[in-house]
């Protein structure tokens, strides 16, 4: 089920009412949440529910065994069971065809023509998110940072909790499980915060992201046909599209969870207002970047094994982070660009160059944005040759009139993007976060703002497309 669907408009109020009617027993609430979450997922394809159930069961058992076992080797074996189950399903459903195709292509370079090795399988929605979530549970227990739950119901609810099931935020067990295992209350300020965050999330997704998507899609469908100015504009729009699309999804998820009495961590924090790529990754898809840091970068040794190993770890983390997004070399290159620039930044910090540059540090904002923009070309282009063509065209620096397309669509795009950017500038200048934006608002003010958002959405929404991060 999509947040931006008519079904969700009926689904959530029903769950909300039922959930709070059962407030006397949090366990009964959990049963309702679990059933609702499975319905939410099954709306897409009920057959893949079995995968979530199986994954939940394996990790529940593995977590418990790791905790109870006295022998380090047994602990390690159970961790391997969890890693194998989670990464195995990810490898099969998400990466098998990619590596099989790449292998066939490479073999053909040497004159060998193997048979078609690909399988006819579809990618289960949200698999990358919930496998990372379950992995963090067993790894945290293995590292003795978290005690496993004894309640299978709570654990299954944690994995399947519908606001974050299909596209995050990737909530750690340490944050979410304790909330699932205790009585929830609906604080007054959470009502206003939640409602406003959901309204703004919808505005970001179905007004801003979906409106600009049509221009981006038109241009990227045929890069060859368009001039550099058009490609630049489309890439700029894409940077905004993916931000408003994914942050919008996160806002709806966080706001929805808040109305059910759960507090998620924030997932975006005005990322394009960053003076360096390091800062960007502290503000962009925070739950993923922190996951990669804690479970991949640190597991590889982090920065504890000398400077060369640090750079290697950084690059490897970003390459794998890129691959997490999708099974294509373009995503690997995207991760590679980020990894290289992050390494350069790390190196520069160790030299006197960084302090000499301090007076013009503000230039970090546009430079970071340009790096992110270039990397987005690889992320958005359908294949490597298209991405390269786009980069070559951009490097020609020919400033011709960009393709306008439907003037109404472009005018709407510029208007809604401006509104989105102005709101972000407001948050940046006032040092506020969207999570607490509605904290001190009265109910009348909240209702008025929410109603205004609804009318703006009604007037400007663009026909709904899937959330970009659903494909990951």
């Amino acid at each position: 089920m999509l947040f931006n669907s008519f079904e969700f408009l009926l689904f959530f109020p029903l769950v909300f009412i039922g959930y709070w009617l059962l407030h006397k027993s949090y366990r009964t609430q959990n049963i309702l949440l679990l059933i609702a979450s499975y319905i939410f997922y099954a709306w897409w394809d009920w057959r893949f529910l079995s995968l979530i159930v199986l994954s939940s069961f394996i990790d529940f058992v593995a977590g418990s065994k790791i905790y109870k076992s006295g022998s380090p080797q047994t602990k390690k074996n159970w961790l391997y069971v969890s890693l194998f189950a989670n990464l195995g399903s990810l490898a099969l459903f998400k990466y098998y065809n990619f590596f099989a195709e790449s292998f066939v292509e490479m073999a053909s370079q040497f004159g060998w023509q193997p048979n078609n090795l690909t399988l006819s399988i579809i990618l289960p929605v949200g698999i990358s998110f919930y496998t990372f979530q379950t992995l963090s549970y067993t790894i945290d227990i293995y590292r003795k940072e978290f005690e496993p739950t004894k309640d299978l119901l709570s654990f299954c609810t944690y994995i399947a909790f519908f606001p974050q099931l299909v596209a995050g935020p990737i909530e750690r067990a340490a944050n979410l499980l304790p909330q699932i295992e205790r009585k929830r209350t609906l604080k007054k300020e959470w009502i206003t915060e939640g409602i406003l965050q959901i309204s703004i999330g919808f505005f970001r997704k179905i007004v801003i992201a979906d409106t600009i998507a049509s221009y981006v899609d038109t241009v990227y469908a045929d890069i060859d046909l368009h001039n550099p100015a058009t490609i630049l504009l489309a890439t700029f729009f894409y940077a905004l599209q993916i931000y408003f699309d994914f942050s919008g999804y996160s806002d709806i998820a966080i706001g929805t969870a808040k109305l059910l009495g759960f507090k998620f961590h924030k997932n975006f924090n005005i990322p394009y207002f960053s003076k360096s790529l390091t800062e960007f990754w502290r503000k962009w898809h925070i739950s993923l970047s922190f996951w990669l840091r804690d479970y991949l970068y640190i597991s590889l040794g982090g920065n504890r094994k000398g400077i060369k190993i640090t750079y290697r770890n950084l690059l490897l983390t970003m390459l794998l982070g890129g691959l997490w997004h999708g099974s294509s070399w373009n995503f690997v290159i995207w991760g590679g660009i980020h990894g290289i620039v992050l390494s350069i930044e790390k190196y520069l910090k160790t030299t006197p160059f960084a302090s000499r540059m301090q007076p013009i540090a503000f230039l970090g904002y546009p430079i970071t944005f340009i790096v992110v923009l270039i990397a987005w070309i690889f992320f958005r282009a359908p294949d490597f040759s298209t991405a390269i063509m786009a980069v070559i065209k951009l490097l020609s620096f020919k400033l011709e009139t960009p393709f306008i397309g439907d003037i109404n669509v472009l005018a709407n795009s510029i208007l809604v993007v401006s509104l989105g950017i102005l709101f972000d500038i407001y948050l940046f200048k006032t040092n506020k976060t969207l999570e607490h934006f509605g904290k001190n608002f009265s109910f009348v003010k909240t209702a008025l703002l929410c109603s205004s958002s609804i009318i703006i959405i009604v007037l400007f929404y663009s026909s709904s497309t899937n959330f970009i991060y659903f494909q990951f």
């Binding site: 008519f6 709070w20 407030h23 209350t185 609906l186 007054k188 009502i191 206003t192 409602i195 060859d224 046909l225 001039n227 011709e400 009139t401 393709f403 003037i407 109404n408 669509v409 005018a411 709407n412 208007l415 109910f443 009348v444 909240t446 209702a447 008025l448 929410c450 109603s451 205004s452 609804i454 009318i455 009604v458 007037l459 400007f460 929404y461 663009s462």
Partner: protein
């Protein structure tokens, strides 16, 4: 959940429902009053202009961009209007025809495409372009509802009719691009060098389209054709169907089959798909299916000739 929280939740959700409902009506009636004064612009202005003139004109050209940009209506009638609108197909066109006055003698020149007629996927989605009139015109509301294309929330939020068109509406209200009183709906295309380049590039890599294996007319398309026919026969309208030229027609079978079907229904049908077969001058084209102003001039001359020589009643 204590009583106070329940009260809080109920009150805020009630307020949101009441405020958004009221705000929607304020916005809807405000935009209606703005819209009523807008007669310029491709979508809403042109539609309003059509509604203003439809009871008095003798000839109306209806159809997609291939009607809008190709037929210089002034060459056919002094009292005509080209209501062709970009991106629209038969559902839109048929609905407009059904709003024409009963019993007034009028000629309807309707552009149709064999590609859409034989497409299995055509579901009348283009009727959505009339959504601004959903709560204001009974015929349009019935047609949109019959196709099930109304947004489920349109009965609550009337402003949905203005979705995506507010900026254009305001722009055309306060800064109209032309004087609508001297506008007959024909929008010739003056090609830019960029469009010319893009078309040349398109031609250099064009692949040949294959003919469909079977020629089964889309049931919805057929239903609309029947409805238009009976409306026009019953209401003193002379209906002429036509298909505008294409740069290169690789499949002629579909045109032939389509003409046969239309003949069975006794439609007057003019197929110009191959009008420029012998004339490959690129200056006549903007792209593979749209003529430049120069091409449109040649095409209009030809269609005028055919209408007066062959189809005049």
């Amino acid at each position: 959940m204590d009583k106070q929280t329940v009260k809080n939740v109920v009150s805020i959700f009630l307020m949101i429902i009441v405020f958004s409902y009221a705000l929607d009506k304020v916005v809807f009636y405000t935009l209606n009053s703005v819209s009523d004064k807008v007669f310029t612009g491709q979508s809403m202005g042109k539609l309003n202009h059509f509604f203003k003139l439809k009871d008095s004109i003798d000839l109306v050209v209806i159809g997609s961009s291939r009607a809008n940009h190709h037929i210089d209506v002034s060459k056919i009638s002094e009292n005509g209007f080209n209501a062709g609108t970009d991106g629209t197909k038969l559902a839109y066109a048929a609905t407009l025809i059904k709003t024409l006055p009963k019993n007034k003698k009028q000629t309807v020149l309707l552009h149709i495409s064999e590609k859409t007629a034989f497409s299995e996927d055509y579901d009348g989605e283009d009727i959505i372009s009339l959504k601004s009139k959903y709560n204001r015109n009974e015929i349009i509301r019935k047609e949109i509802d019959a196709l099930g294309k109304a947004n489920k929330l349109h009965h609550i939020f009337y402003s949905l009719g203005y979705n995506g068109s507010v900026l254009g509406l305001l722009k055309n209200r306060f800064f109209p691009k032309y004087n609508y009183k001297s506008y007959d709906g024909f929008d010739p295309i003056y090609i830019t060098s960029q469009q010319e380049k893009a078309f040349q590039m398109f031609l250099s890599r064009k692949t040949t389209d294959e003919c469909p294996h079977s020629f089964n007319i889309n049931p919805l398309y057929e239903q609309y054709l029947e409805q238009i026919k009976s409306f026009c026969d019953a209401n003193n309208k002379q209906l002429i169907l036509f298909t505008a030229p294409v740069y290169e027609d690789n499949c002629k079978d579909d045109n032939r089959e389509f003409a046969k079907i239309l003949d069975q229904y006794n439609f007057k049908y003019l197929d110009y798909s191959n009008l420029f077969k012998e004339n490959s001058d690129l200056a006549n084209w903007r792209d593979a299916t749209h003529l430049s102003h120069k091409g449109a001039e040649i095409f209009t001359t030809k269609i005028v000739e055919d209408i007066y020589l062959n189809l005049a009643p």
